[in-house]
Symmetry: C2
Subunit: 340 residues, 2 copies
């Protein structure tokens, strides 16, 4: 196959996990930028900020006092989008269709050190975050009302993050959200047909080609998926098929922490800034089924396009049509790989 | 049906047009905002800006000179994401799947007056924009290589609009983008089952309930769809089933221009600012089929949440799970309706 066409001409690439397409316009990477520049702040934050509601010992908006935590601290979101004891109801009124949705939303502080981010935490401290994700995932997955657990992080003001203290969130709920539902469908169809993991087979192909691989260790691969939407989107994938993070043994958990460390550090180097992104872990539903068609993975969706201040806007065409990108996954891989 | 639960408890609403869900958390509308504030500029722009590449008589980046246009001016995008004469190819290499995509991208200046926006143009001048959309749509739809035409506008720097001169875009291409494909599927399934327009039947229900209607005239309704994602998302829908804007007669075209005028003016009043949004017209594919299952409509996706400077971020949970909103469609309707 001649891949050079993919670097020269408009095309769309198929996302095997969602069944959707991304429009790629490689010839357009050189258009001049005349739009909005984002504000960036490269000021170094203090290790403790008395006005931060996530710092250890400080009081949150609802009056609760954070413990003097030493590493990771998890609490239930004070303004949760989903609530455990919300009323159950169903609306089916002609073409108006709604269902009540309950759940549990948590906040997870990655470190008591206000000045840190995953990118400048030690691997052994990131490992504590991985252990906390596992603990929370286990507990939530044992709740009969929780059938899906979404772990994610919004990093940076440009990603709607309301507090720079290093933290992520966990929203868990009774039904599958849209994106997870798509990936469930695609992985199940593939597994039923091939008796193997869709992402596992994809990984084997990528490891052979080495065109989009950024980093690998014994248990994990960091790559830019062929169908990446965001300019510097990446994915961390376990080499073994595993349906969720509870299947990691200790060595694998450490390899996972290392993969997170490597990619977040490389991101920060790319535009010499604390690189904003939303990251999320897609895992099997916690519905009590084995879900052996699931191969969990973590994705990073960073908004930056050309510099610390110029972001990619997913607007008009993207909202009404399909996501669109200029720089190809292969070029982006080269740029990031050089920084690892 | 008791709709009050929808104002009090977390739930998800079904989008009949895409088959996807939005998570609604009405109890959360009161959480304090501690995140990023957007920069706004309410400075009045001059009617002519010599540095603007869209103003009449000015030179564009590629050296072409804009004519001294009097009302609407259309040209082919100088940095088009899709190109007419792009190479045709197909990649099917294991799990790497790609298809070349060709198309034509145009820019449409709504007015020579640099200071204007649709919100402060006369209805008769908006009508000229509608006529230009019709002309372009007709011409593109007659091109055998163009099977879909996406008309859209990005308004405001926060929506990635690189030039404040009033303008929109038209991206046309050979295949259906993701969002259009979903709406095609849902409308076709409904039409095959009920022999009537999905959106037409929905409109009848909304007109009876009057809970989400913002404005109507003889031919159009402006409403907040039950399943709206953005805090102040609205939709303009023709009362008659029509598959595309070429079916509008002159009186209907004027009513359409009026509907655009009414909603954009109301938006500007809401937070006392030139209200940013992406808008787009979803119409039947231009594939030569009758597509009688299609009911065209125009949607506005504005990013603002609580003020001219506080926007809703579609990030972590929204990217990995489902779109999420706090304020309900019904409350948002009341707020906008009061300004009409
Ligand atoms: O074409 P423009 O206005 O330069 O660019 C804008 O609209 C395009 C179409 O929605 C997007 O792909 C770009 O990210 C956005 O900045
Ligand atoms: O929960 P936060 O950090 O206040 O809020 C942020 O993340 C949420 C989950 O992705 C989004 O719904 C909000 O729009 C965003 O501002």
């Amino acid at each position: 196959m001649n891949h050079t066409d993919l670097q020269d001409y408009s095309h769309k690439r198929f996302n095997i996990l969602t069944g959707e397409w991304v429009l790629v316009s490689p010839h357009r990477a050189k258009r001049p930028w005349q739009g909005q520049n984002e504000a960036i702040s490269n000021t170094v934050r203090p290790t403790y900020d008395e006005t931060c509601y996530l710092c250890a010992g400080n009081t949150r908006i609802n009056g609760e006092i954070n413990p003097k935590y030493q590493d990771v601290f998890v609490f239930t979101n004070d303004f949760a989008a989903l609530q455990k004891d919300s009323k159950s109801f169903s609306v089916q009124d002609g073409l108006l269709v709604a269902e009540s949705e309950t759940g549990i939303c948590k906040v997870i502080c990655f470190s008591p050190d206000h000045s840190k981010s995953l990118a400048n935490m030690d691997t052994k401290d990131i490992l504590k975050v991985v252990f906390a994700w596992q603990k929370e995932f286990k507990e939530l997955s044992e709740n009969p009302n929780i059938n899906y657990v979404q772990i994610f992080e919004n990093k940076g003001a440009v990603m709607g993050c309301s507090n720079p203290h290093p933290h992520g969130q966990i929203w868990s709920q009774s039904t599958l959200p849209n994106e997870v539902d798509k990936k469930n469908t695609q992985q199940l169809a593939y597994y039923n047909k091939n008796s193997s993991s869709l992402l596992g087979d994809y990984l084997a192909q990528e490891l052979e080609k080495q065109e989009r691989i950024i980093f690998e260790n014994d248990s994990f691969v960091v790559l830019i998926p062929f169908w990446a939407v965001w300019p510097f989107e990446t994915m961390i994938v376990p080499k073994k098929q595993q349906s969720n993070i509870l299947e990691l043994n200790d060595a694998e958990a450490l390899d996972y922490a290392e993969a997170i460390s490597v990619i977040t550090k490389a991101y920060d180097k790319l535009f010499n800034t604390s690189f904003p992104y939303s990251s999320g872990i897609h895992q099997a539903p916690t519905d009590g089924n084995a879900n052996i068609h699931w191969h969990w993975h973590m994705s990073f969706y960073p908004p930056l396009l050309r510099s610390a201040t110029v972001k990619k806007f997913m607007v008009g065409y993207e909202m009404f049509g399909s996501p669109q990108r200029d720089i190809t996954a292969e070029i982006a891989t080269k740029m990031i790989k050089d920084l690892v």
